[in-house]
Amino acid sequence: MLQAHKLTVAIGGKVVCRELDMVIRPGQCWGVLGQNGAGKTTLLRALAGLHPPQAGEVSWNGMTLQTIARRDLACHLGVLPQNEGGEFWGSVLEYVLLGRFPHRASWFGYSAGDHMIAQQALVQMDLAELAQRPLNTLSGGERQRAAIAQVLAQQVQCHLLDEPLQHLDLRHQAQAMQAFGKLREEGGALLMVLHDILWAQRCCDRVLLQFADGRALHGAAGEMLTREHLEALYQCPLRELAAEGGRCFVPGV
């Protein structure tokens, strides 16, 4: 259970959320929506303990993140960053195996079990044939799938995913969402930053709307994903279309 208590987060002098209280429970899937620059990534980094909060605290099962060793935390909490900011020279399989790093028992290399878990994650992300390719020869979407496979291989209870669907084509978006749905059925908790309201409607049961002025609103997905809320959130007129008994929103321009 990942909990934010009176969390205030700021970056470069801009407050991205004020006294936020939220609890991410096992089996829940949270969607975070907001404009560009609203601070979604910063909030996610704060929830992962990668960005120090200005006030308040984030805790994992009742323990403040700062008091937990990174290695122990990495066994429970997985993060998919938007930009890795690094360069990996090895193969796709070696890259996905890094997800096993917090769990590995030996100083040298990874066990057969680790290899098996990494292979499964590759299959889940439709990458089995690319396993031996150097990671830096992959396309943007393939790389994103490799990054997702790495988080899957980490086998954690709580997943913080920053734009997990970026660069993915429709089939692979669905595949990734299926994989996340499976994690949720197995009792995992998820929080994902999304730009696609449709996916938030279909896959998330809780939604957090992050406004540009630092306000945040969260609640059940059905209550949050209304035209009024979304027009205020994106500061843009929306049109509501009915489709297969549901609603979907498109920009009204």
């Binding site: 935390l73 990495a74 909490l77």
Partner: protein, 322 residues
């Protein structure tokens, strides 16, 4: 190429390189003579030459090459920059200013070594203080601080060179290009290489994670700040040990890790031992050629590392594209 086979090949190359280095010189020795002299029951001159001159020299060359290659691997991981080499953070600049200033004042060899050591230490502390401790840990600030300090030291070195006279200039140029003819502190350098090489291999899994970027590394369980600090000081110690042994020998630290990577091996668990072996063998070969090709004239080894290494790497780069 499978890393295990490459490891065995490089072990053979290291043995061959060391053997070649022991045989060559103004008194050429046959393999059998080298063996007898090593066992201590050969002719007097051969034994003398081997134990007093050649063995320390080839061991120094091997160790120096290994130190530089390892330092290069660690700095490329720390700075997440493939262009990082042992000299990028200004450590060699500080050492050069110290060494050259001592030479200009006509100091003894020991005093010169001490001055270069002091210069390197000053540079390490300055870069660490300015680049690391200030506010948040930003690796680009560290890199920039080092590059700026290097530029300053480069200017000071040019000034010292213009102030120097005749013979002094030659000694200075030899130091700047790298020269293994005074292998002092050999035992210390080997201890540094073996201890840090072993530590780096043990922690190699974390290095693989660390090159993925700070957020990713932290999310996978690395205490990034502590790792960066440890890497910085380990690389600094390796560089200082190499500078003390052979001056500022270029090319080895930058290119040996890339040579191994071009062969398709990038996991640090293999990259570290393979780079050390390749760097050591390579420097033994370069140094042997530097002291024998135009003997009795001895050329600075730094010239040969580039002369030999550039075609080799250009070939690897071209072959890698196929």
């Amino acid at each position: 190429m499978p890393p295990r086979i490459l490891f065995l090949l490089l072990l053979c190359a290291a043995a061959l390189g060391l053997g070649f280095g022991l045989m060559s010189g103004s008194l050429p020795l046959a393999p059998a003579e080298v063996w007898r002299a090593l066992m201590g029951n050969g002719g007097d001159t051969a034994t003398e030459v081997l134990w007093q001159l050649r063995l320390p020299r080839v061991l120094a060359a091997f160790c120096c090459g290994g130190l530089l290659a390892l330092s290069g691997v660690l700095l490329q991981a720390l700075l997440r920059n493939p262009l990082a080499d042992p000299y990028i953070l200004g450590i060699s600049g500080g050492a050069a200013v110290g060494a050259l200033a001592a030479m200009l004042l006509g100091a003894s060899l020991a005093a010169m070594q001490l001055a270069s050591f002091a210069g390197a230490l000053l540079a390490i502390v300055a870069v660490f203080g300015l680049g690391f401790l200030h506010g948040e840990r930003n690796i680009y600030r560290l890199l920039l601080t080092g590059v700026v300090l290097s530029a300053g030291c480069g200017a000071a070195v040019s000034l010292l060179l213009t102030l120097a006279q005749g013979e002094q200039v030659k000694g200075m140029l030899f130091w700047l290009m790298g020269d293994l003819s005074h292998p002092e502190g050999l035992l210390f350098a080997w201890v540094v290489l073996l201890v840090l090489g072993l530590c780096a291999t043990v922690f190699s899994g974390g290095l693989d994670v660390l090159v993925g970027g700070p957020d990713k590394a932290a999310a996978l369980g690395i205490a990034v700040g502590r790792w960066q600090m440890a890497l910085y000081f380990a690389a600094a110690a390796l560089t200082v040990a190499a500078l003390q042994l052979g001056g500022a020998i270029g090319f080895v630290g930058l290119m040996m890790p890339h040579a191994i990577r071009l062969l398709g091996i990038s996991a640090h668990r293999w990259l570290i031992p393979l780079s050390v072996l390749l760097g050591g063998s390579f420097l033994v070969l370069a140094d042997t050629l530097a002291r024998t090709l135009w003997s009795p004239l001895q050329l600075p080894v730094g010239v040969f590392t580039a002369l030999l290494g550039v075609p080799f790497l250009l070939w690897l780069l071209a072959a890698g594209r196929r």
